[in-house]
Structures are given as C-alpha cells and as structure tokens.
C-alpha cells in the first residue's frame, strides 16, 4: 500500500512539474534570466509555482506534523541539523551553476526521462554520477569526523 502511495505521490509531483512548465528547461532558463527584464524576455511565472508549492507544503506540514505519526512508518523523519557550514553554501552554489547551464534540477530531469529524449537521459546519467561522487566523498570525510550531508537528511 505504501509503495502504491509513493508511486501516486511521485506521479502527482511529476504532473505538477510537467503542467507548471518546470520540466521545460527553456522556460526555467527564461525564469533565471534576470538580465532579460529590460527587454521583456524574463518569465517570472515559475516564481509563482514555487510560492504556490511552498504555501501548500507549509499548510500541509502544519497539519501533518501535529498528527502522532505518518500513515505508514513509525515516525516523522524531519531534518534536525541547524549548522550553517561551508557545505550548505558550496553545494547549492555548485548545483545552481549546473541548473543555470541546462535548466534542469533533479525532479524535472527525472520527469523528463518520461518524455523519452536523449538529452534528458544524458543529463540524468551525469547527474547520478555527480551524486554518487558527492556521496562517496562525504562518506570518506565523515570517517574523519565531519558529518556527511546525507546523514543530515536534508535532501
């Protein structure tokens, strides 16, 4: 049951990405193109998508986290780390450059696989390679006493 539920949630999430335009890299790049404000080429619509998603999730979390626990599973796994280390800036900075180069972040890139395009498949393979390298490096450094990003469950 939980498995079917997670498939349906992935599907709803993906439909949101497809219908809002987040799965279209050209639209994402037009959103990131603040330099085009002067020429009317800036597309601010994805800011509303983001704001809408935050509004729904904010309200939903308020309601959900008051409950004793999730429907399936014994407890809520909410990230607890509050440390502002170099990684919380360096990681997103690296991620943002990749996002700006192509226009894909991880969710839309995976959804794009369903479009069947070769470019999306190339991007996803490279993305997974990057993820595995980061994870490997993080685990190595965690041996020397630095917390691994994946231990913090923020992702």
């Amino acid at each position: 049951m939980a498995i079917i539920g997670q498939f349906v949630i992935g599907l709803i999430f993906g439909l949101g990405l497809v219908l809002s335009g987040m799965s279209d890299p050209a639209k994402v790049l037009n959103f990131l193109d603040l330099g085009a404000i002067g020429t009317g080429g800036w597309d601010p619509s994805l800011a509303f998508v983001m704001a809408g998603a935050v509004a729904v999730t904010f309200a939903g979390y308020k309601w959900t986290l008051k409950r004793p626990g999730p429907l399936f599973g014994e407890k809520f796994h909410v990230p607890t780390s509050r440390e502002l280390d170099a990684r919380i800036v360096a990681g997103p900075a690296i991620f943002g450059v990749g996002w700006g180069l192509v226009g894909f972040c991880p969710g839309p890139a995976l959804t794009a696989l369903g479009f069947g395009t070769r470019a999306a498949a190339i991007f996803v393979v490279a993305m997974i390679a990057g993820m595995l390298l980061a994870r490997w490096l993080a685990n190595r450094s965690s041996l020397s006493g630095i917390a691994s990003p994946l231990d913090q469950l923020g992702a």
Partner: protein
C-alpha cells in the same frame, strides 16, 4: 507534504534519487523506486490523457549537458538538497539552512544564465 503524511519523510528529489544506489542506510528502496517511477510516468499520463506532450526544449547539448548534470548531482547531494528538498520542503519548515541553500542556488542560477546569455 503528502509524502510526509504517508511515510514521514521529506519529498526531496535529490535525496531520493541518490539513495536509489548503494550503500543503503535504510530499507526504503522500494518506496523510492516507486516515487521515481511515478515522476517518470507523469509525462506519459499527460500524453495519454491530452493526446500530446507539453513543450520541452533542451537547448544545451553534448558536453554542457554532461557538465550541467554532473554539477546538479554533485551540488545537490553536497548541499543536502535541491529545489524540492530545500526550496519547497525546507522553506515550508522555516529551516534556516534551507533558506541559505535556496538563496545560494537561486543566485548561482541567475549568475550562470547572466554569464551564458549576456556575457557569452
């Protein structure tokens, strides 16, 4: 939000995707595979219900695709989250880390597009 209600976890795509591969630190693999399968099925469902796919234009090619994909993958795991985990779920929890992360990746995205479109 639905994922939290159902399984008690954050719907962060980078975390879910990275944990599809070993080493596994929990027994949630099947659920993560199901979530990703749902993501991939979404455009197919759109195609079947409306008869056409929405536009998707990927301007990057070759080495830029590989470089961009690698940076997105590396950065999202190194920074413990991406647009969904930090930008949506984290900000919704009023996490300071996620505010910092979101401002940083937005700024980096704006800067990168500025360089490639207006200085290149």
């Amino acid at each position: 939000m639905l994922l939290m209600a159902l399984t008690g976890r954050i719907a962060g795509v980078s975390g879910i995707a990275a944990r599809l591969f070993p080493p596994y630190d929990d027994a949630e693999l099947a659920g993560r595979l199901a979530f990703v399968a749902g993501l991939i099925a979404a455009p197919v469902v759109v195609l079947l219900t409306t008869g056409q796919l929405p536009t998707q234009t990927i301007q990057a090619n070759g080495s830029i695709l590989v470089l961009g994909g690698f940076l997105v993958g590396f950065g999202s795991v190194w920074g413990s989250g991406c647009t969904s985990g930090h930008g949506v779920c984290g900000i919704s929890r009023l996490s300071v880390r996620s505010f910092v992360a979101t401002i940083t990746f937005m700024a980096a995205g704006f800067a990168t597009v500025f360089v490639t479109r207006h200085l290149g």
